[in-house]
Symmetry: C2
Subunit: 258 residues, 2 copies
DNA sequence: ATGTCTTTGTGAACGCGTGCACAAAGGTGG
DNA sequence: CCACCTTTGTGCACGCGTTCACAAAGACAT
């Protein structure tokens, strides 16, 4: 069985830390806003505030790109926009295919954010024959059978998977076999890919569950005073009932949520 | 100006590391799959493979929850499903509102993953009067005017923002003022929120840009041999043209991408 | 030209997350 | 009851990321 890691173990591409790369688009967005308002220069403090990060972090991030920036003045907005764009590879055109044109896939196809920054939707692909030919976002949906040909003809190296979970791995394998080396996965599954292929996942359900965890914790903190007085472990009353952890007579049968 | 950080500076909630919390939903998903196939127990090795993580990491993650698991045998699937569900707060019901019923908002409303795990879409809200009353995903869209009342009546503490970027901060402010303390943001903006409010963002555009970076790097590595022979810095030829970094005569005017 | 003032760029310390490797624990068979 | 085998739980070390704090660098006024 292929191990298939998901996030790449920090290959340290050209010395730019992964965490920095993940923030560059944020800076770029803030800078684009300033550029549109014809702001000539910006300080690390201002830009950091706009991007929602620490200013020292921002400066260190930029230091990995080189010494753009003038002491006592700040950064030239236009110049920085270009440098970051170039570093991220946005000065060239990236054809993208979206596989799985359901609710989500169609929404993605209609999303304006694609075209705005070097990404071009080259094709929409779906397994349903009834979808074939139907226009979505001004573009005819094509059938999965032609997937390999589409990838090849358009030189696609980035694929977006918006299929149901059950089909995702199969689609992924075909994309990779056809030459795609970067995948953005919206399906709620862990994808296995060979080395050299990057996968990033966007998982609504996971994000909500993380929020629920913090939400529950916050709700628990409120009544923490009484619980502490009653000498209970702070997690016990959060769930409402069932104060038993694995006690001396553990292995209580599990009660599953719906 | 409010600083408004986005990701919370690791408050270390009840001793469970943030990184672990982020993986719990992954384990839960894998475990649910096993549970449906009536697998009684699972080893850390197997489960780790299914979740796409290191087995030592998984064991350490579980150790934060307590000592569930039997040496020499593994973990009881049902029991673990319940424990993780409880830890994540999924044993209770979380009413959620979705604000901004455009392409994306509608797709989210139709997404099945919501209801499956304790999350219930309590209301769909949009600012467009023309949308009001129209059914989306079997539910009438309500107008933004009633936002506060909806939040209050349903006891909503989690809000999903799927509006255009321009409206996001305003919507966010109203949600927070109405009592929402967790926000999932799909709008491409940095949201400012007061302390105590959690924000997680899902940003398609950022994910694509990160992929583009790695894609460009991969494309560059291929022809790295020639470039190295020509004594060029390895980033120069990746962009194709424009080999000039900020040299002794820096400050070249920027060429912006479309 | 020189001093002052602002802002960058970075050295260094710290904390979190990860993974190795192993001892402890429990089940199982004889 | 004992020995063996499997698998957990964790101590430890290492590396990445974050942040502080400050020296170097440049602009600008005098």
């Amino acid at each position: 069985m292929a191990t298939g890691r998901t996030h790449r173990p920090a290959t340290r591409s050209r010395g730019i830390p992964e965490a920095t790369v993940a923030r560059l688009p944020l800076y770029l967005r803030a800078l684009t806003g300033l550029s549109e308002r014809s702001v000539p220069t910006v300080s690390s403090e201002e830009l950091a505030a706009a991007a929602g990060v620490n200013s020292a972090k921002l400066r260190k991030d930029f230091s990995y790109l080189g010494s753009y920036g003038t002491r006592g003045v700040g950064y030239d907005v236009e110049y920085l926009v270009y440098q970051i764009s170039r570093e991220l590879g946005l000065t060239q055109d990236w054809p993208v295919v979206i596989v799985g044109i359901g609710n989500l896939g169609a929404a993605l196809a209609n999303y304006g954010g694609f075209a705005s920054r070097g990404f071009r939707v080259a094709a929409l692909i779906d397994a349903d024959p009834a979808m074939a030919g139907k226009p979505v976002a001004g573009m005819p949906v094509q059938h999965t059978d032609d997937l390999e040909k589409i990838i090849d003809d358009n030189g696609v190296s980035i694929g977006v998977i918006a299929t149901p979970a059950g089909a995702a791995q199969q689609v992924c394998d075909r994309l990779v076999a056809a030459g795609v080396t970067s995948i953005l996965n919206f399906a709620p599954t862990v994808l296995s890919v060979p080395d050299g292929v990057d996968v990033r996942k966007v998982d609504l359900s996971i994000e909500l569950q993380i929020l629920a965890f913090h939400e529950q914790r916050k709700a628990g903190e409120e009544s923490a005073a009484e619980a502490a007085a009653a000498q209970l472990p702070p997690a016990a009353r959060a769930a409402g009932e069932q104060a038993d952890r694995k006690g001396p007579d553990g292995d209580v049968p599990a009660v599953m949520p719906a």
